[in-house]
């Protein structure tokens, strides 16, 4: 079963690779941020699956830390003043 869970973790990582296309091509600042947000959620899911596969409690600690901090980048951007002209980054 642990092999199945690891394969699922690989699948989650693979979907985030696909979502990276949005980060690269944008076009908007919010699109890029969104992809990184998705990457963070994907990493949490992958860590949960790894924890289920290997029984490693430390993977859970890590997922917990990532989950608590995952909103920080977006908060920092939302607080920063809007870029001067245009908007598309």
């Amino acid at each position: 079963m642990s092999a199945v869970l690891l394969a699922m973790a690989a699948a989650v990582i693979a979907t985030t690779i696909a979502a990276l296309w949005r980060a690269v091509n944008g076009p908007a600042r919010s699109d890029r941020l969104m992809s990184v947000q998705l990457l963070g959620t994907g990493a949490i899911a992958a860590l949960l699956l790894v924890a289920g596969a290997t029984g490693a409690g430390s993977a859970l600690d890590l997922a917990l830390v990532l989950a608590m901090l995952s909103s920080f980048a977006t908060i920092a951007v939302a607080l920063a003043p809007a870029p001067g002209r245009g908007g598309a980054a």
Partner: protein, 95 residues
């Protein structure tokens, strides 16, 4: 055995939601609709995966941690959603 079946089935459902979320991020036409994919589908995906892993937890503390991870993910998604929408609107990306 039954629990293992539960783990695999529910986790597979969770992975499916991740695939759906990515499809949404790639296919939806504008940032505000893509926001749905990121904040809803993926949060549901993490929730399902967390639910799937709970029976595999070695100790009650681990199970509590898994639930806390799920809560933190939901809170974070609930915060990030409106903020990303504001960033999108402020920058005039909504179209």
């Amino acid at each position: 055995m039954l629990l293992d079946f539960w783990t695999v089935a529910v986790a597979a459902l969770g992975v499916l939601f991740f695939v759906a979320g990515t499809a949404g991020v790639l296919r939806f036409p504008d940032p505000l609709s893509r926001l749905h994919a990121v904040t809803k589908a993926d949060t549901l995906g993490v929730g399902l995966i967390a639910l799937a892993i709970v029976p595999q937890a070695a100790t009650p503390l681990d199970a509590a941690k898994i639930l806390l991870i799920w809560l933190a993910t939901m809170l974070s998604a609930a915060t990030v959603g409106p903020l990303l929408a504001r960033v999108a609107i402020r920058n005039g990306d909504e179209r």
